[in-house]
């Protein structure tokens, strides 16, 4: 009962976020980068729903494009994490042995770092920008997916029916593709949603630190850090993008929570 309510709220919020992403892709009310000197720090109005920033740019439009940007980066990051994480986790979990031992030690070494820190290192090496950020966070997300998949593969591998299939002479490749991978669906679904939750958080954090898309392109995190300079006079400029970040994370975490629990039951 209560769980369903959480699920529904999560679904509604996530749909809203997706809608914002869609609007961000199709058309924003104003050009998010167009400056208008006369509209500097304009207050909230029907023309400018969230007001304007220090350059007179429409904050609502910038938020919409920021959401689009965050969603795009998060989707790429989660995809990289899931794709490589699944390959790594399946191979190490299925075959075990020294390869597993070494890769898992490496995995531990990487997991010892919070993803934001790891991404900072990669950006330190290759410079900042949208694609560097995707690569950086994507790499940082691989280990946790690899670990989840590996655990699950270990569990499935030891099930009786896999042993039976092996007795019939099925090849490793066939066992992995036909019998193991489809069983990862449920685990992957909830970890993808939780992955989105973490990716949004990491992306916003990185762009807050100035390591995301280059200005003047809008991103939620950068809007926050820019607005922070005017926190005394125009606190709302920081609050709107911040609340949008919170809403995005909230939606994914509600969905992730309830999906996870459904799988357990």
């Amino acid at each position: 009962m209560k769980k369903d309510k959480k699920f529904v709220i999560g679904l509604v919020i996530t749909s809203l976020v997706l809608l914002m992403t869609l609007i961000g892709i199709i058309k924003t009310p104003y050009d998010p980068c167009a400056m208008d000197g006369s509209m500097k720090f304009a207050h909230i109005s029907f023309k400018h729903l969230f007001g304007c920033d220090q350059f007179g740019r429409d904050i609502f439009s910038r938020v919409l494009v920021g959401v689009r940007e965050t969603m795009f980066i998060s989707a790429c990051v989660v995809f990289i994490g899931v794709f490589f994480g699944t390959i790594l986790g399946t191979v190490t979990g299925y075959f075990g042995g020294w390869l597993d031992e070494i890769l898992m030690r490496l995995n531990d070494a990487v997991l010892a770092f919070p993803s934001v820190l790891l991404a900072l290192v990669v950006i330190g090496l290759y410079g900042s920008g949208r694609y560097q950020l995707i690569a950086a966070l994507g790499i940082a997300f691989i280990p946790s997916f690899a670990r989840i998949v590996r655990g699950e593969v270990l569990k499935i591998r030891n099930l009786d029916y896999i042993q039976a299939v092996r007795l019939y002479g099925a090849s490793h490749f066939r066992i992995i593709v036909v019998h193991i991978l489809p069983n990862l669906k449920t685990v992957l679904l909830s970890s993808i949603i939780i992955g989105f939750n973490n990716a949004v958080l990491a992306e916003a954090g990185m762009s807050y630190l100035g390591m995301g898309v280059s200005p003047p392109a809008p991103s939620l995190g950068r809007m926050l850090s820019e607005a922070q300079a005017y926190i005394f006079s125009n606190p709302l400029n920081a609050i709107f993008p911040g609340i949008v970040i919170v809403i995005m994370i909230l939606g994914f975490s509600l969905l992730g929570d309830t999906l996870g629990k459904r799988n357990d039951a």
């Binding site: 630190l209 850090s225 922070q228």
Partner: protein, 312 residues
């Protein structure tokens, strides 16, 4: 004891892996650090001289061995952009970041444990929905945004502290702690929600275990059943979780230092990244990895002490 030795050994291996990773990723960067240090205008002779002076013309394994031994001695080399040794550059900043992280953990534990117990006690009342909803929302607030909100409320409106005016621990230890309170709180906030929710759930789950019935059958009062039997068991997963969050808390402090202008490792890491000051970046990564792994070790040992069932 055997457990402690095994765990320490794993920790050392992990740290070695980290240092190998760090060194080689930074050696593989395209471009000569000597060039980036001198600028693109430098003459080839000057570049060659500096390359030789920095030892960059020697085989990579030799450089790794030398670097590794120096790191073990606590010598991280010279900073490119600040003309001083990395060790002296970072020594103050480490203390500040550690103070901030430890404070965040202490705040988290001090608030979330009583809160979790309280929430478990109220779990079948109307308050439960209220707490769960508030928790859910707080969990979704990133620390840099809660930091801005805290600045707005306590710095701008209530004027309890001056945003940006960091007090060094050298000037006033308590002043420094006072300034670090709000940054630490904003790191701790989402963790408080997570830990208190986890504790509430484990308390409820443990309360349904059979040993609780045994405890009642001996004539224990409800309070005694709770504090003598349930709480200890319920805290075990909480300790594990707190250990896992330490990495997050350190990452959180890197970001939050930026929000509150705290001159810790996070700030210098960011300036070093934009200035391509590789020795400083390497040192900071190693130090942070060391803290994370070290804290994991402490948690593992604590956990071992708390839960006698864990064996090697």
């Amino acid at each position: 004891m055997k457990y402690a030795i095994k765990k320490t050994a794993t920790m050392i291996i992990t740290l070695f892996f980290v240092s190998v990773l760090v060194f080689f990723s930074f050696s593989l960067i395209p471009g000569n650090p000597a060039v980036s240090r001198l600028g693109t205008e430098a003459t080839p002779e000057k570049v060659a001289a500096l390359t030789h002076e920095m030892g960059l013309d020697r085989p990579v394994m030799v450089r790794f061995g030398e670097w590794f031994i120096n790191v073990l001695r606590g010598d991280f080399g010279q900073s490119y952009s600040y003309r001083q040794s990395v060790t002296s550059l970072l020594s103050d900043k480490i203390k500040i970041t550690l103070m901030l992280s430890v404070m965040a953990i202490v705040i988290c534990a001090a608030i979330s444990v009583p809160l979790g117990i309280f929430m478990a006690r109220k779990s079948d009342s109307k308050l439960d929905i209220f707490f769960s909803s508030v928790n859910q929302v707080i969990m979704a607030i990133p620390s840099f945004f809660s930091g801005i909100i805290l600045t707005l409320i306590f710095g701008v409106i209530l004027k309890l502290f001056t945003p940006g005016a960091f007090v060094s621990y050298k000037t006033s230890f308590w002043g420094c702690l006072g300034y670090l309170f709000f940054p630490a709180l904003s790191i701790a906030l989402p963790k408080i929600s997570m830990v208190s929710k986890l504790l509430k759930d484990t308390v409820i789950a443990e309360s349904q275990k059979e040993y609780v019935r045994t405890a009642y059958s001996r004539g224990n009062r409800t309070k005694a059943v709770f504090y003598r039997h349930v709480l200890g068991n319920a805290l075990i997963p909480v300790i594990t979780f707190m250990g896992m969050t330490f990495a997050d808390i350190i990452a959180g402090s890197i970001i939050v230092e930026q929000v509150f202008s705290v001159p810790g490792l996070g700030r210098i890491l960011l300036t070093s990244i934009s200035g391509r000051d590789y020795p400083v970046i390497e040192a900071i990564i190693l130090l942070l990895a060391f803290f994370v792994v070290m804290s994991n070790l402490i948690v593992d040992l604590l956990y071992h002490k708390f839960d006698p069932r864990i064996h090697v």
